[in-house]
Amino acid sequence: MKPGDKLKEIRFKITQEKINQFAQFSGDFNPIHVNEEFAKMMGLGGTIAHGAIGMAYIMKMLHSEFGKRFCEGSRFIIKFISPMRPNFELKTFGEVKEISSDSIYLSIGVEKVEDGAKLIVGEAWIEMGAHSSDG
């Protein structure tokens, strides 16, 4: 792995059905996610997906790439900068920015497939120290 390398993206589509499924899964029925009228009243223009849906895909991408190293020595920070709306076709992104003797630093996030507009942006650090098989 070297600076400039990209992680394998995960593509997903936001649908109201997926948002409702996630609301059920998480117990987060905040009406900005599930009530079109309320979301409009809040000035959001319609329902928006839970930011955690994007976070789940980012974590899945990092977990797929780094496995146990992701689970046992990583840190990431993400900002939800623009709403994920129903019918958006999205993908995760991850790019290696720096590698040191003990860690990998990446930019991560979620962007629209259509035009690359960033909706979630962040950074991740993966420790690359030795891991024994018994943890």
């Binding site: 998480s26 905040n30 309320f38 789940a56 689970c71 046992e72 939800f80």
Partner: protein
Amino acid sequence: MAEKKTMKFSELKEGEILSAVSYEIADEKIEEYKRIFGNSSEGLPPFVSCLYAMKCLLEKYSIQPGTIHAFQEVELKKEIPLGERFFRSYGVVKEKFNKRGKNYAVFEITTEDSRGIIVHKMKLGFVIPE
């Protein structure tokens, strides 16, 4: 159990404790995760554990409609072994501030496994309507 309060910016206090909550993550919840996000790994996906950690916040407060998840920081410290399902999470109101007319509250939540070993720490930032 104390009655839940609605989370209000004006009533949150920096340093306020979110009492420890113990819980079991049900296998059904992991299956539900897999149905939504696809089957990514054996055992417990880290995201599911992070989501459950919110319990210590949600046992105390109900989220005010219109609250927006603004940012999140996660530090994963220990892989959760296959079969591990019992956890304990606790937290604190780390800070609250107003930026560009918006009320932000940041919560720090720590999760331990059944042996008391920290598996992850998180900071969650919310924009709260009032």
